[in-house]
Amino acid sequence: MTQPPASAEPKHPGTGTYLAVAAVLTIITLVEVGVFYVPAFKPVLVPVLLVLSSAKFALVVMFYMHLKSDHKLFTLVFSLPLMLALGVGIALLLLYSVFASG
């Protein structure tokens, strides 16, 4: 049996990083609302909004929930159910022909 040293606490981001992330989240939210109101974006509204909200999601999860700096096991424990939820959601949408035209 080996006895590695006690696990060190991961180094979490500093206050500057948290503030920078908050600024980026604010900007992305403003862009989302702006895109919603600009008629020129209507043809690409859905993909643009999905990309922007995914970016916000990733920023909060990686920096505020510390997934980026923590042990990868936490990432695995979170990602697998997330992928399952996404997969089931997409399957339901396909099953009920939500993406069908007409």
């Binding site: 590695p4 908050a22 510390h66 949408l93």
Partner: protein, 195 residues
């Protein structure tokens, strides 16, 4: 077999069991909200009568409440940093700020719900009403639980029981709060902006 320790307790991963358990719980919450959001999307646009999302949703107001919840996540992570470095004053300030912003968000939700009822949209009116109130109601319930949790931590801080050795307790509360925020990010996009 290798062993490692986390916070004085031997664990096979070297990680705090409470934190690992809570991430597992958050995984289950992904499935809960995933099913609620999927149900909303499946029934989207299939109501036979109004009010419709286009007629009733208030984007400017909800944008403000979304910003409020994002800032509450900032306050939460600053609270954790303060607890971890043993700064009792700023820990209390940021915990109180997070809880306050959560209450503000709940106020926005309460206003929105009552406004919708006055304009004829209830959970029984149509498919949009059923799915909207169920989804945002569950989310609001989670925010309420989070606010109660934060107030509990604030009380413990004033009792002198929230030192750096208890930082993991605040971190777990933070994980819950940030997840609630992340769910709202998805709801704001899928329900309010993609009409």
């Amino acid at each position: 077999m290798t062993t490692a320790t986390a916070h004085g307790h031997a664990t096979s991963t070297g990680l705090d069991n409470r934190k690992l358990a809570f991430w597992t719980f958050i995984g289950s919450e992904c499935l809960l909200f995933g099913s609620l959001i999927s149900t909303y999307l499946v029934y989207k646009g299939r109501s036979v009568r109004g009010p419709t999302p286009q007629e009733i949703l208030n984007i400017p107001l909800t944008s403000v409440s979304t910003f409020d919840l994002l800032m509450s996540s900032l306050a939460m992570v600053l609270a954790l940093a303060a607890v971890a470095r043993g700064d009792r004053v700023w820990a209390r300030v940021w915990l109180a700020t997070t809880a306050f912003l959560g209450v503000i968000f709940l106020g926005f939700q309460a206003y929105e719900f009552t406004e919708f009822v006055h304009r004829g949209l209830t959970i029984r009116t149509n498919l949009f009403g059923s799915t909207f109130f169920t989804l945002t109601g569950f989310h609001g319930g989670h925010v309420l639980v989070g606010v109660v949790w934060l107030v509990t931590l604030l009380v413990r801080s004033f009792q002198g029981k929230l030192g750096p050795d208890k930082a993991v307790n605040v971190e777990i509360a933070g994980l819950y709060w940030h997840f609630v925020d992340v769910v709202w990010i998805v709801i704001f996009t899928v329900v309010y902006l993609i009409q």
